[in-house]
Symmetry: D2
């Protein structure tokens, strides 16, 4: 005999563009929205009774309609509005998670824009009828230092071949997620502050390892960004391998590198403000990012 365990369902990757047109300078909100709902869903799984199922198509419609009715504004606010709606209006839904990616554009003129292709701003908001959990974040922020990075003194064993280096390229694509003790006065200002802290700490830290750089970046965030009490970082180490030009009679003093795709290092870590409780990991399924 079998029984149903944890489950959720929803609409993923709703691609919506909202244009604010009330001023001569239009404003774009270019979003990818995901919704995940959980609750009293035994009947649909066990006997195909759909009466508790709000279709994923309706979830998509709701995102569209809310963009028009309420505007988008800051993604954290828009995600919370949606999450609350699903829980508050559907008796069977006990928990809603709304995740939003915001894609950046730069203005060319009043109605003209170019996509910047810089990092994507992200948020994940979960509401369970009682508490609201908000995570802000970013991904695909690619940073590189062409010097000021070494890697020495590491553990060795039978399988070690890597030479020590006192000067290498350090390159990573930052994925970050953070939580604030209280919602900040303005999410955009808070976002800009965290982004600046991450970038600045990367740029001005002499790196003995990517782990050290990660910790420096996280520390900069929790120590300088008001209200941020935890930041998680996932930093792939995009290896730039110094090419041996010796066979061609050439020295290569940190000038020519092969950029490798795979494999890559992957450094993950969490930095907390002193006194902050660790996050409630068991809720991760709820936050939509867990498998």
């Amino acid at each position: 005999m079998a029984r149903l365990g944890e489950n959720q369902y929803g609409k993923a990757e709703i691609r919506v563009m909202k244009v604010d047109r009330d001023r001569p300078e239009h404003v774009l909100h270019d979003l990818t929205v995901g919704v995940a709902l959980a609750g009293d869903m035994a009947a649909v799984h066990l006997v195909g009774d759909n009466s508790a199922v709000l279709p994923t198509d309706t979830q998509k419609n709701t995102v569209h309609a809310f963009a028009r009715e309420h505007g988008v504004g800051e993604v954290e606010d828009f995600a919370e509005l949606l999450a609350r709606h699903f829980v508050d209006t559907q008796q069977a839904v006990h928990r809603a998670t709304v995740s939003i990616d915001e894609h950046p554009w730069e203005r060319l003129a009043d109605h003209s824009f170019a996509r910047t292709g810089r990092e994507t701003r992200t948020t994940t908001v979960t509401y369970d009828g009682d508490r609201t959990r908000v995570r802000s974040g970013l991904r695909d922020l690619v940073l590189l230092s062409s010097t000021g990075s070494e890697f020495q003194g590491f553990a060795t064993d039978r399988y070690t071949t890597l030479p020590e280096t006192d000067d290498r390229i350090l390159c990573t694509s930052v994925e970050a997620r953070w939580r604030c003790a209280e919602p900040p006065a303005d999410w955009r200002t808070s976002y800009d502050g965290v982004r600046a802290a991450l970038v600045t700490a990367f740029a001005d830290t002499y790196s003995r390892s990517l782990q050290q750089t990660l910790y420096a970046m996280g520390t900069r965030v929790v120590e300088t960004c008001p209200g941020v009490e935890e930041v998680r970082l996932r930093l792939p180490n995009r290896h730039h391998i110094l090419v041996d030009l010796g066979p061609f009679g050439l020295a290569n003093p940190g000038e020519v590198f092969h950029v490798d795709d795979r494999p890559y290092g992957l450094i993950e870590g969490t930095v907390l403000a002193d006194g902050a409780l660790p996050d409630d990991w068991a809720d991760d399924w709820a936050s939509g990012g867990v498998w």
Copy 2:
């Protein structure tokens, strides 16, 4: 002040091909391997002291060398061998997670092969010096039913526009992960059984919703596959939208569909054998798949 929270590091996407050449019929093991280690890593984060850090380059070398020394065999066994090695030989490493994707080929001749492009077999093994957790799985198994699927009687609200349907295409790309109470006698036989159960249940279930199909697939697995006590399924609903040909004076009785990329439904659920304890969700960070 800041402090370090959860962290791990390792090498991701090590692409290794192992050829067994001891018989006239060569055998391929085409793998993508990921390693993640955790333990006493405070010093590297806080002060850049790398003495506890086994470089990710060494991890890659170890995968290569182990493929030669021990062969690959079943991916669950190979992953466990690697996970134990890192914990048993590195004092600072308290937990190792090894994830492997195995890419399928079909034989053309003794030494010639074609990639099948069918589903990828997966495993994730975690060892913490005490317990070993093994998960087997698959992904990118794309299944479709051209009839025998309806979606009716669902909840409606102000934002509902979806019409009910008593005949639609149901299409999904199965991602599954399961655990066995005990390691089976042969991982390959176990894998083939789970795959067959998933496919057969999908094909012979009349579907009132994808949730119901998910539960039928999961139930089939735990009820017919010896030793499997839990299976998690993630089923994107790849929408095939019946095209309205009315404007052209044509009926369209389930024949012509637009295949949509985004958005898509995403149905996730767990099915457990009666008596099986739910999995220990808090360990998910350890299993490498959690963000």
Copy 3:
């Protein structure tokens, strides 16, 4: 002053699934269709007069409607039907190119299917009101030989470091495009024959270079496939690099390979039947594949 040169426009990547339901065993036609039209389009470019422009949305509708009215059948036939329609019914359109990818599925039961993920069958048909040009093809057919491949005796210069090898893995992802002197009796039979010739020639050719293998594959096609008078092949060389396990005290007699993503070799060549004229390269813009 400026003037308009070559131009064309159309709809790309129309994803359509046609289900034949007239027998208990349903049949799938899973297509990605592209349309490109050219003709008297000066007015739209120069002054925005759209009167000669058949919207790309209408092109998409036509694909949908034709799938229902005429069925899909063989992709070469369906593409030609569409190409002729646009030229024959739109005075301003002097040339239409229709390209189709067909994605393969295997039957599980009468109405159930699994995507095989093997190669994609392709076609490109151009009609200019007078002539019809048909090209058949395939791509993403990944083949590998685990032995029976060497690479020696090559040219060397100051920048040579590659050692010669008498035993390596040879792996490629075949992209092929061929033309027949006359339309074959059955396009599917013709396709199966070409595919078999490519695979068989790859498998039974001892390879001194990928160029030699390419020529052997092309020769096999034009010599054994009735009516095929030219085949073009594009073969990336997916390098499998033998790992040096010497530092770990291990020999590696062709067993453990690193699979590299980039860079890769790219070998392109054409094989013609004796007496066949070379293709009319200048028409390539028309065939939609040219930039």
Copy 4:
């Protein structure tokens, strides 16, 4: 009997990072380089005689070594230097095509950079021992106008359902390739000028169709950029579909759009300076972009 037709071979996607370190402010040249060679290659195809084959591995080494020996500078110059080298030093090589993508970074500090993710600058240079052909270009420049675009007065037929619109979003990802009558004094200045012309023309053109916008962009380039005598443009029409919010009692005056992935329109065209000869299309195989 079979015979060999057109052929070429080379190394694709060589990922190289060159750092200029001679000043405190480092400069990055982040390139993806492709090489394709053609010439007396009958023996390798027919009998596997590799004596005329300069291995693709050597080509890669040459790119690395040249980056060190000569620096990278402007990609057009670097590509030409490489193309000439292969033809001038290898007797069997009669034609070399070198294609380079340059990936943009922005400076954060002397040695720190962030990838901008904006458009990629491209070039393709072919040398045949006699003539040098240079093409400059860009791709992935994503532009959007939130108003100032209509689409009306188009041709209609039985399959028309698209309503006319006098206000829509116009969005495209620009791919452009141009040629200069003579090499400009400075390739970077020339590039910046063409990019600015493309962006400005897109932003200040009231659009009656994407074809008209394409022609306006091309005209701006050839009329304002010194020496540019031809520009080819490939403009996908990234459809933003106005969502019908009527069922929810909401008007939607150009505010909420569904961003569709596929299908998309694809508008391609060439604009020439008065008096410029059309390009020599038959050479396209040589330029590496032809299939």
